[in-house]
């Protein structure tokens, strides 16, 4: 029964608020000590714990709380808390509370510890969110959050390369699993049609019978196995022990590694109960359990021993989920609880030992029990629970595990293997826990240099509480609420009722006998541990288990790296090759998607052909020939200067075609722009290093035939595609237009102008033209900045290279540095005033006739450019001191913006047409309109002149 709980987000919000507070506290008070910070910040997880506790009565009645918030279209951020989620949530916040207090003491005087607090509280929030997520997408979000924050925590000591490597390994493996999980989640959503758990949990049969079931199972299991360190993905967990110990205690015992367990438990009712599920989880779990148990015995680093014993326990838990009996889920929840309690205590103790004694090496530790009695006591209790000895809670966990192992519903051979593995693991774990306590606290001190004493009481409190809980939970079987919560959690994971009682003694039964066998075996192994460890070292199998997988992982990374190098070798840095690849790829796409030759409807071919008069058609033919002929001449001519001129001729041919259209405005612009482009090209040519150009000309003749053929083939193919494209566009174009009739009809009434094209530019699409002019202005300023500043900064000589002396006339190019003739000088004197007059006329009468502000600007610019060409840079500069290009660009743009304001006053719309001449009754010559569009034209003209002058100025500036 799901109930909407409007405050379900509160526990989550509280924890995240704590994470945000950690850095803030440091900002407010730089001197705040880690201990104080730990105590204050621990209140946040405690509050979350209480908030979850508050919901237990409802959960006990079988309710589930939900909350959701629309996040993006079609997606919700939703939470869902049933007994299983609450069980995990309580563990996360309780252990989190203790770990935060402990961290305060652990970091002591470390001033940077706020970073740790922020990470660990953030991690806590992510972990809490994961276990109470209401849908798969939200779950994935938090899942990735735990991966990333655990990366930050493991790599907390960033200057330590081992920490970085460990963090990287953990991130690679768990992150990779995260991607698999996302895919699996998407498949689940695809099958069920809903991401929410309430819907998914109801569609178990749908999922199990779906054709995607094997894929879903594989992907989800991959995600869970990597996260929960199942064989063979367990290799990241020992390396992640480089994390500060509180983080190891938290992430790698109680929380993050349980995320995979949680996920599998959560999905067991819908994905489980199949053969595949059983074998996958049982085998992976058994392998993990044995690997962890064997390697735990081999290690001598306290934390590494704990890490491997954690792996062993995770294997047991995974195995439990694989079964389909109520008792195995009882074992699951009891196992999770028992493990979280004793393992976090042991990790914290390991941290204290490390902190006090300065080492975690079991070969150097020993006899600490006398100097650290409190620590010893806590460790002893926790280790007893880990060993599974009565009267600890761990005993119950082991009993239920063994009860599952001998359960008659298993196939016989599986039951035998299962039982054997469980007993072996139990024995090994007992030996390991014995070793942990004995080698650290008992016996004689092995290293006289180690002096240690008990840490402050607050620090001991953190591991003491879970240790005591593992002691007392088993003593009071009457604790109803705990049992009910555990039963609820187990039931949610199993999919139906599970009864859980916390009584330790069930009388003399088969599990107890097995347990005795395990204990006896464990004691023997413990006493003979030196021999056993020596034996393990000699065994090829255990050596392979120890290092083989890590080597495999490293080898894989290396192989990926090598492949990346191979792939990068393709990038050889030759632009022309890139271009050819891009062009060929584009061609390929066109051919693949359109087929070749493209479908053409040539029925419309004849109809429009001869609408123009025959003579004009002839002229058009000539112009077409001019366009392509010049284009090819441009290729064929060896000199760069002649090539530029040929390009100019081609552009003029285009202008003739435009006149024939008839499109007079465009033709005019095309002509002036063509001239200007030739001018700019020539100026740019003069600035190129001349000896290099000469060298290149020789090179061009020597360019290998094959590369020219290749270029020609690519170019030809592209031309062919464009030809077909134009032809199909020409033939299939619609014969009616939505917009053009509107423009035709509205031009005169709206603006009083008769030039439709000009009106479209300045009025109908005025804003567009404004942007266009801004782009043009920016291009000019960009060129100026690029050449004057960027190149000067890099000292690459573009700004000043010794070479051509400053007074050198720029016409020298092509004519070889000869002096200008008097005729040319006189002509250029006349040019500028003439272009100015032309430009002004263009603006004045452009409203009704051919021409506009842009044309005017370009015409004037040509006049200025002519000065640069003839007189050279410095003489032009001294002749026209009034020319301030940057100012012109700026004022032009400002005026353009201002010209729209007129319309605001007249018709209430910015950039709408306003005819001031008519408005104020100013007598003007015929054909001249003093209107907002005229102001706009003036503005365009100014900024074009400014921008082009900037280009000419920088490109025409001789090298010094």
């Amino acid at each position: 029964m799901a109930v909407i709980d409007p405050y379900l987000f509160l526990p989550l919000a509280v924890v995240f608020a704590g994470a945000a507070l950690a850095p803030a506290a440091k900002v407010v008070n730089r001197e705040v000590s880690s201990v104080a910070m730990g105590w204050v910040l621990s209140l946040f997880p405690l509050a979350a714990f209480v908030l979850i506790l508050d919901r237990l009565p409802g959960l006990a009645q079988g309710m589930a709380y939900t909350w959701s918030y629309p996040w993006f279209p079609g997606g919700r951020f939703s939470l869902y808390m049933d007994s299983l989620g609450a069980f995990f949530g309580l563990l996360v916040t309780l252990i989190g509370f203790l770990v935060v207090i402990y961290s305060g003491y652990y970091f002591g005087r470390d001033r940077g510890s706020w970073r740790f607090f922020a990470y660990i509280l953030g991690f806590m929030g992510a972990m809490l969110g994961l276990v109470i997520a209401g849908d798969l997408i939200t779950l994935f979000l938090f899942w990735e959050g735990t991966s990333i924050l655990s990366f930050l925590l493991v790599a907390y000591h960033v200057s330590d390369p081992k920490a970085r490597q460990g963090a990287f390994k953990a991130l690679l493996i768990t992150g990779g699993g995260g991607i698999a999980l996302l895919l699996g989640a998407l498949f689940i959503i695809h099958v069920t049609g809903d991401a929410g758990f309430t819907a998914i949990l109801g569609s178990g049969d749908l999922l199990r019978q779906s054709q995607w079931y094997p894929v879903i199972l594989g992907l989800v299991a991959l995600g869970a196995f990597t996260k929960s360190a199942q064989f063979p993905f367990h290799i990241w967990l020992p390396d992640a022990m480089t994390a500060p110990t509180p983080a190891s205690a938290y992430l790698h015992s109680a929380t993050m590694v349980k995320a995979g367990i949680y996920l599998m438990a959560r999905l067991n009712p819908v994905l489980g109960l199949t053969e595949a599920w059983f074998w996958l989880l049982t085998l992976a779990g058994t392998a993990t359990m044995l690997t962890g148990a064997i390697l735990a015995l081999k290690r001598t680093d306290l934390k590494a021993v704990l890490a491997y014993s954690t792996i062993c326990q995770l294997g047991i838990l995974m195995m439990m989920i694989g079964q389909d009996m109520a008792i195995s889920f009882k074992a699951l929840v009891i196992g999770i609880l028992a493990h979280a309690l004793y393992k976090s205590a042991l990790f914290l103790v390991a941290g204290m030992v490390d902190h006090e004694a300065g080492t975690r090496d079991l070969r150097r530790l020993g006899g600490l029990g006398r100097s650290m009695p409190l620590t010893f006591g806590v460790a002893g209790v926790a280790a007893l629970s880990m060993a599974g000895l009565p009267p600890m809670f761990g005993f119950l966990a082991k009993e239920t595990l063994l009860a599952t192992a001998i359960h008659p519903s298993l196939p016989v051979y599986a039951a035998w293997g299962f039982t054997l593995a469980s007993v072996t693991a139990g024995a090994l774990m007992l030996a390991v826990s014995g070793r942990l306590v004995w080698d650290t606290f008992m016996g004689r001190p092995k290293d006289p240099g180690i002096t240690a004493h008990d840490p402050p009481l607050g620090m001991v409190l953190a591991p003491a509480l879970p240790a005591l809980l593992s002691l007392f939970l088993g003593q009071f079987p009457g604790m109803k609420e705990e049992a009910v919560l555990l039963a609820g959690a187990a039931g949610a994971a199993f999919g139906s009722e599970v009864s859980v009682s916390l009584a330790l003694w069930h009388g003399l039964n088969a599990p107890l006998v097995l347990s005795m066998v395990a204990v006896a075996g464990g004691v023997v192994i413990f006493i003979r541990r030196c021999q056993v460890m020596g034996l393990l070292d000699r065994l090829e199998f255990s050596r392979a288990l120890d290092h083989g997988l890590d080597k495999g992982f490293d080898w894989t990374l290396l192989a990926v790296d090598r492949m990346a190098h191979r792939a990068a070798a393709v990038q050889q840095g030759r632009l022309r090759t890139y271009l050819i690849v891009i062009l060929t790829g584009a061609l390929g796409l066109v051919v693949v998607f359109n087929g070749f030759p493209p479908p053409l409807d040539i029925s419309g071919l004849s109809g429009i052909a001869m609408t123009t008069a025959t003579e004009l058609a002839l002229l058009r033919l000539v112009a077409l020939f001019l366009v392509c002929g010049s284009a090819f001449a441009c290729i064929a001519l060896p000199g760069d200067f002649s090539a530029i001129l040929a390009f100019g001729a081609s552009g003029l041919g285009v202008a003739v075609l435009m006149v024939l259209e008839p499109a007079t405005d465009v033709a005019l612009v095309q002509i002036v722009v063509d001239v200007l482009l030739v001018m700019i090209l020539v100026l740019a040519l003069t600035r190129m290093p001349r000896e290099k150009l000469a060298a290149l000309r020789h090179l061009a003749t020597r360019t290998s035939q094959s590369s020219r053929t290749r270029d020609a083939l690519v170019a030809g193919a592209f031309g062919l595609v464009v030809m077909f494209m134009s032809l199909s566009a020409l033939l299939s174009r619609p014969r009616t237009s939505e917009l053009s009739p509107f423009f035709e009809a509205m031009t005169k009434p709206a603006t009083g102008s008769s030039s439709i094209v000009g009106t479209i530019l300045t009025d109908f699409r005025g804003l567009d033209t404004l942007f266009e002019i801004a782009v043009f202005g920016i291009a000019g300023v960009g060129i100026y900045t690029l050449i004057r500043f960027a190149s000067a900064k890099h000292k690459d000589g573009a700004a000043d290279t010794p070479g051509i002396p400053e007074r050198m006339p720029l016409t020298s190019l092509g004519v070889g540095g000869s002096r200008k003739t008097p005729l040319l000088r006189v002509l250029s004197h006349i040019m500028l005033p003439l272009t100015l007059v032309m430009g002004i006329c263009d603006i004045l009468y452009g409203h009704d006739q051919t021409g506009d502000g842009f044309t005017a600007g370009v015409i004037i610019s040509i006049g200025i450019g002519f000065q640069y060409m003839v007189f050279g840079y410095s003489e032009t500069k001294s002749r026209m001191p009034w020319l301030k290009p940057s100012g012109l660009v700026g004022w032009g743009l400002v005026l353009a913006l201002a010209s729209g304001v007129g319309g605001l006053f007249v018709s209430g719309h910015y950039f709408s047409h306003a005819d001031f001449g008519k408005l104020w009754g100013i007598p003007l010559p015929k054909g001249v309109h003093l209107s907002s569009s005229m102001l706009f034209e003036v503005a365009i003209c100014l900024s074009v002149v400014g921008s082009v002058s900037l280009m000419l100025n920088t490109l025409g500036r001789p090298n010094r």
């Binding site: 392509c628 530029i644 081609s650 722009v673 190129m688 174009r733 690459d796």
Partner: protein, 111 residues
């Protein structure tokens, strides 16, 4: 006439591509501008109808040509003038920095 126009556009385009692929960077710049010409022609021929006179209102008899492509071409020309000038400046800077006008000589890019 359509076939011829399309043919000319294709040829000009091919010439432009070929020029871009040349090693001489000045030729590459010219190629870019040839492409602009080809595209202007292409836009010009996309008018919805062929008119009898230029796009002016009420001057002479006959139906004016479709003004929309012309407005688009004007914008295209302006922008391409700006960008090709900028491209030229870039080529100029690059050729100075690597002290070559050879597109294959720009070795610094492979590092």
């Amino acid at each position: 006439m359509e076939i011829l126009t399309a043919f000319a556009i294709g040829l000009t385009f091919a010439a432009g591509i070929f020029q871009i692929l040349q090693r001489n960077v000045i030729r590459s710049a010219i190629g870019l501008m040839l492409l602009t010409n080809a595209i202007s022609l292409y836009l010009l021929s996309t008018g919805a109808w062929v008119g009898e006179k230029a796009a002016y209102v009420g001057t002479a008899a006959g139906h004016p040509v479709d003004p929309l492509p012309q407005a688009l071409i004007l914008t295209a020309i302006v922008i391409s003038l700006g960008t090709t000038s900028f491209a030229l400046a870039m080529l100029f800077i690059v050729s100075k920095r690597y002290n070559t006008c050879d597109a294959d000589g720009l070795k610094g890019l492979s590092r």
